[in-house]
Symmetry: C2
DNA sequence: TTTCAAATGATAGCAATACTATCATATTGA
DNA sequence: TCAATATGATAGTATTGCTATCATTTGAAA
């Protein structure tokens, strides 16, 4: 795998410790996002990175509804006005975080399905990546990917469930999510070129993975996974759902 | 069908015009909800019914985020304090509306699947009812069921995507949704008693029906229905997904 | 090393939101 | 008819979601 290649929105940076020894070398992932998502790029300053890190922590802890820029500023040790210089409002910050997440997921999928040529195996890997808790492969200094995953499950859909979704869509805020859907849709078509609903199945896999996880942990009677709360069962459920549907369509 | 039977949360009332002529007879549906959902029962006063009617209109028009009790009160011609006498806050009002909706859907399903004994046909009917725009069979005077359906699609998940979901669940706020899931899960098991994920499939059908509709109308590239925006295609997608999965599991 | 623009900090203020409280009046039902 | 209950009218308060201004620090170019 060529790490220097820019992959969609993703760029890999080599970060070396001052004395270059292999064990001190870190590979850092850098996600490049659409400029319209922010007023000032949070990846390019210490304050900006703190804003991302602490908003993920705060939203994870207290939820998006009770989250606001005043609390965030206090948490960071800066002022409300300081945060407003980076993001217009908290919804834009959520859009940024969500876009970052989907870009990161797409990168992970590319990385983890690399050199897998069987589309069925590839799709299984995708389902597993979408439906199980992240274990960091490549670290990013200022993002807690595990907390982020939880946030996307509980708050992610609020990014688009608004009256201004059409305007936001025109501004390309959902591009990473849409790119990911296309990518998964293509794998589905590789499995069965005659399957009629690749994009709908793709978005359904993503959404089911998330809300089955949410239900399992919060409203367990809406699932069959309530007892042991085992994510791998969500994977099995999804695999059965997806592959029986794709295969049936072959006939 | 015995209309006098109380069905889960649902009660049917006969309303007669003063002169009893068949064409003046109306059958009115009355949904009885858990008392904890409100401070004062909105079904039992004119003001209460206005609150429900106008909040559905306002949320439908401007979305839940921009909705508040001041605007609602102005719309109705009462005062903010007046609304607070019925509902603690706007989230509780949303919970009420959502609970009402799911009770109503369960009633519709019971009504429309009555006398269908083939579980596959029954499940098809359920999918069709969940995934297509409501056409009122039985009218309720103070609820616009069609606007309500749109609200549930765009705002419904916000009812449970909160940090207090566990507390709300203990207070039984989600009972109608859970009852419906059980009911659909039972039909799935009738189709195939050995299917392993009846509840997860049930909640997935409901959620997919809704967000595929939302995506189709707002982020069409996430679906395969963007061009003609035809709800019946969502039904076909869901049927293929559901029945291939259930049937495969039979083997 | 200066220097000048950009980023940050500190403070203030304002309109809207999310309530709570109080008292007067209307209604209605026992 | 009278007493409880529902509604109306008004006021007030803490918090939220911003915007504006000016002073200070930082950092990169000259």
């Amino acid at each position: 795998m060529d790490f220097s290649t820019s992959l969609f929105n993703t760029v890999i940076r080599y970060i070396y410790a001052k004395e270059i020894k292999p064990e001190h070398m870190e590979i850092q992932l850098h996600i490049k996002l659409n400029e319209i998502l922010f007023l000032r790029n949070p990846e390019q300053s210490e304050l900006g990175k703190k804003i991302i890190l602490h908003s993920i922590q705060l939203i994870h802890k207290n939820g998006f509804e009770s989250f606001n820029f005043k609390k965030l500023a206090e948490d960071i040790g800066t002022t409300e006005a300081g945060v407003y210089r980076y993001f217009e409002n908290k919804h834009r910050l959520l859009l940024y975080i969500v876009a970052w997440y989907w870009s990161w997921v797409e990168y992970r999928i590319s990385f983890q399905t690399n050199n897998i040529y069987d589309p069925v195996k590839k799709l299984k890997k995708v389902i597993q990546l979408l439906a199980t808790t992240v274990e960091d492969d490549i670290k990013t200094s200022h993002v807690d990917e595990s907390a982020l995953h939880q946030i996307i499950i509980s708050e992610g859909s609020k990014a688009y469930l608004t009256k201004h979704v059409t305007a936001d869509n025109k501004d390309q805020f959902f591009k990473p999510y849409k790119d990911l859907c296309v990518k998964i849709g293509d794998i589905i078509l590789e499995c069965n070129p005659r399957y009629r609903y690749p994009k709908s199945l793709s978005s359904s896999i993503i959404e089911i993975a998330h809300f089955q996880n949410f239900f399992m942990n919060n409203l367990p009677s809406l699932t069959d996974f309530g007892k042991d709360k085992d994510e791998s069962k969500i994977v099995l459920f999804l695999e059965e759902l997806v592959f029986s549907s794709i295969k049936k369509a072959i006939k």
